[in-house]
Amino acid sequence: MANKKAFGKLKGREAMVLGIIAAMVILFSVLSSTFRTYPTLVSVLDISYYITLMALGVTFPLITGGVDLSIGTGLVSYALIGGFLIVHQGVPVGVGILACIGIGVLVGVFNGVLIAVMDLPPFLATLCTCMITRGLGPALCGGFGVSWPSAISADGAFRNVFKFTSDSGTVIPIGIVFMIVLVGIMSFVLEHTRVGRYTIAIGSNKEATRLAGVNVKFYHMLAYIISGLFAGLAGVAYAATYATIYPGSGAGFELDAIGGAIVGGVSASGGVGSIVGAFLGVFVICLMKVGLPFIGLQANWQQIFTGIVLIAAVLIDVIKKKK
C-alpha cells in the first residue's frame, strides 16, 4: 500500500472497533433474549442509514481538522423541505429527493465559504448553520410535521431502496448493501483521488499544501460540500425510514455521526481517518442506541453514553500520543 504505516495503524483501529461491536452484540444478546431477533437487526440497520450517511460526509471536514455541526439539524430540515414540496406542492417524489440533496449541497457550500474563504473557526461557523438550518425548515414549511409518501402508496418506491418489504411481508434491509457500496466509493475517494489526498494534506499542514500549489480553498470547501451532500442524502434516508419528520428535531444527531467517526479512528485534530473506520464506529453508536433499552436503560441513557464514549475515544488517542 501507498502508506504502510498509517494504513497499518488504521487496520488495527478497525479491528478494535469490530471487536467492540462483537462484544456489544454478545453482551446484549446474553442479557436480553429479545435482543437476538431479526427485528432488532432491522431496527439497528434502520437507525444506521442516516447516521452512516452523515458520518461518511462529516469524516471529510474532520480530517481537514474541522467539524460540521450543521448536519443533524440540517438533515431534518432538508427532509422537511423535500417532504413539504412533495406533499403540499405536488412536486414529483424524484424532484423532492433532489431538492433535499440539493439544499444539503447548498448549505455545504455556505459552510465551505464561511470556513475556507472567510476563515471562520469551523465549529462556530457550523454551529451557526446548525441554528440556521434548524430555523430554515420550519420557517419555509410553516412549522408542521411532514410525512413523505408511505411505502404502500404509489409514490413510496423510494422507501424500498432502504427497506424492501416482500409480498409475504418479510422485511429485507437492502439499504445496507447501498451503504457498503457508498463506503467503498468514499473510501476510494479518500484514499485514491486528489480530493481525498488534499483533504488529508489540509488536515496535516494547510500552509504547506498551499505552497505546493494546491488550490487549498477549493478542496477545503469541497470537504464541507461533501459533508452537506451526505447530509442531504441522510435527509432522504431519514425520510425513507421514518414515518414523520418533526420540525425542530435533529439537534444532537450530529453527535451520533461525529462520535461514530471518532470512535472509528478519525482524529479530532485532523489528518488521520478512514471511511471504513467511521462506518464501523457508527455501528457502535447504533448498537448502543438500540441495545440499551433492551437491558432496561431508557432511551435517554443513550445520550449520556454517547457523550461518554466520544470523550473516551478522544482520550484514548490523547493517551496514546503521550506515550
Partner: protein, 326 residues
C-alpha cells in the same frame, strides 16, 4: 516609537468607539421595533420581557466570555442550564427538597459541569468543541433520565415557595437588573483586576509562555470553565424565576445567543481579549432582537436564523480585523 504609540491610542479609541456604536445600534433597534409595532414595543410588558430574557442570557454570556477568553469554547451552556433547572426543579417538586437547597443545587450542578468540561479541556487537552458536544448530550441525557422526560414547573409567585421569583422582580423593583449589574461588575473586576483574570487572559493569548513562567496554566484554564459553570447555574435560576417551566431536550438555541452576545461585545474568538461591558451590551442587543422578532409576529425559527447570521457576521469582523492587523 512615536508612531507605535499613536497606533495603540487609536486602537484603544476604536474599542471604545465600537462600544458606543453598539449602544447606538441598541437604541436604534429599540426605536425601529417600536416604530414597526406601532409603539406597543415601548410598553412596560415588552420591557419586562426583554429584561427577563436578558438576565439568564446575560449570565450565560458572561460565563462563556471567560471560556472564550482562554481561547476555548463552550456550547454546552444552554443544555447545561436546562439540566440545572430540571434536576433541581424535579427534586424540589417531586422529592420535596427545600427551595433554598434546590437553588444551591442548581448552581452546584452548573459548577460540576464547568469543572468536568474544564478538567477535560485543561488537563487532558481534549478539543473544547468535542467536550462541548459531549457534555451537551450528557446534560440533556441526565436531565431527561432524571425527570423521566417530563417538563418541570417551578412554583408560581403565589405559592409558598414562590419567593425565589423575587430575584427577578420584587414589587416592581427590578432586582434582576441589580443582581445582573452587580455580577457583571464582579466579573469585570475578576477579569481585569485579579490574578484569576490576569492568568486567564494571558493564557488565552499565549499559553506556553505563561506555563514557562512557572504558572499552573491547567488550573487557571479549568477555573475559567468553572466560573462559566457557576454563572450557568445562576442563569438557570433566572430562567425559572422568569419562566417557571422547563422542558428537557432543549436549550441549544441559547448557546448561540450567548456566544453572539459575547462576540458582538468585542471578545475575540482566539482568546486573550475579552470585554465584560461589551458582553453586557451585546446581550441586551440580542435580547432586544429576540423580543423584537417575536413582537413583529415572526416565530422563533426566525430567531434561530437571524442569531446564526449575526454570530457569523460578528466572528467574521473579528477574524478580518485580526487579518488586517497582521
Amino acid at each position: 516609537m512615536k508612531v507605535e504609540k499613536i497606533k495603540q491610542n487609536t486602537l484603544v479609541k476604536k474599542v471604545g468607539f465600537n462600544r458606543i456604536v453598539l449602544i447606538f445600534v441598541m437604541l436604534l433597534m429599540y426605536l425601529i421595533f417600536g416604530g414597526l409595532t406601532g409603539g406597543s414595543f415601548f410598553g412596560i410588558s415588552r420591557i419586562t420581557d426583554t429584561l427577563n430574557y436578558a438576565y439568564f442570557l446575560g449570565f450565560l454570556s458572561l460565563g462563556v466570555t471567560f471560556v472564550i477568553a482562554t481561547g476555548g469554547i463552550d456550547f454546552s451552556i444552554g443544555p447545561v442550564m436546562f439540566c440545572c433547572a430540571l434536576v433541581s426543579g424535579y427534586s424540589l417538586m417531586t422529592y420535596g427538597v427545600p427551595m433554598a437547597v434546590s437553588l444551591i443545587m442548581s448552581i452546584l450542578i452548573g459548577v460540576l459541569f464547568g469543572a468536568f468540561n474544564g478538567y477535560l479541556v485543561a488537563y487532558w487537552k481534549i478539543p473544547p468543541f468535542i467536550v462541548s458536544m459531549a457534555s451537551m448530550n450528557i446534560a440533556k441525557g441526565i436531565a431527561a433520565v432524571f425527570t423521566k422526560t417530563q417538563s418541570v414547573s417551578w412554583p408560581q409567585s403565589t405559592a409558598a415557595d414562590g419567593w425565589y421569583r423575587n430575584f427577578v422582580n420584587m414589587n416592581g423593583i427590578p432586582v434582576g437588573l441589580i443582581v445582573f449589574g452587580t455580577v457583571a461588575v464582579i466579573c469585570a473586576v475578576i477579569l481585569n483586576k485579579t490574578k484569576w483574570g490576569r492568568y486567564i487572559l494571558c493564557l488565552g493569548s499565549n499559553e506556553e509562555a505563561v506555563r514557562l513562567s512557572g504558572v499552573n496554566v491547567k488550573k487557571w484554564k479549568m477555573l475559567a470553565y468553572i466560573i462559566c459553570g457557576t454563572l450557568v447555574g445562576i442563569a438557570s435560576i433566572y430562567f425559572v424565576a422568569a419562566y417557571t417551566t422547563v422542558q428537557p431536550g432543549y436549550g441549544d438555541q441559547y448557546n448561540n445567543e450567548a456566544i453572539a452576545g459575547c462576540v458582538m461585545g468585542g471578545t475575540s474568538m482566539v482568546g486573550g481579549l475579552a470585554s465584560i461591558s461589551g458582553t453586557v451590551i451585546g446581550v441586551f442587543i440580542i435580547s432586544l432582537l429576540q423580543q423584537g422578532i417575536l413582537a413583529l409576529g415572526f416565530t422563533k425559527e426566525y430567531q434561530y436564523i437571524i442569531t446564526g447570521l449575526i454570530v457569523i457576521a460578528a466572528v467574521y469582523s473579528d477574524v478580518s480585523a485580526r487579518r488586517r492587523k497582521n
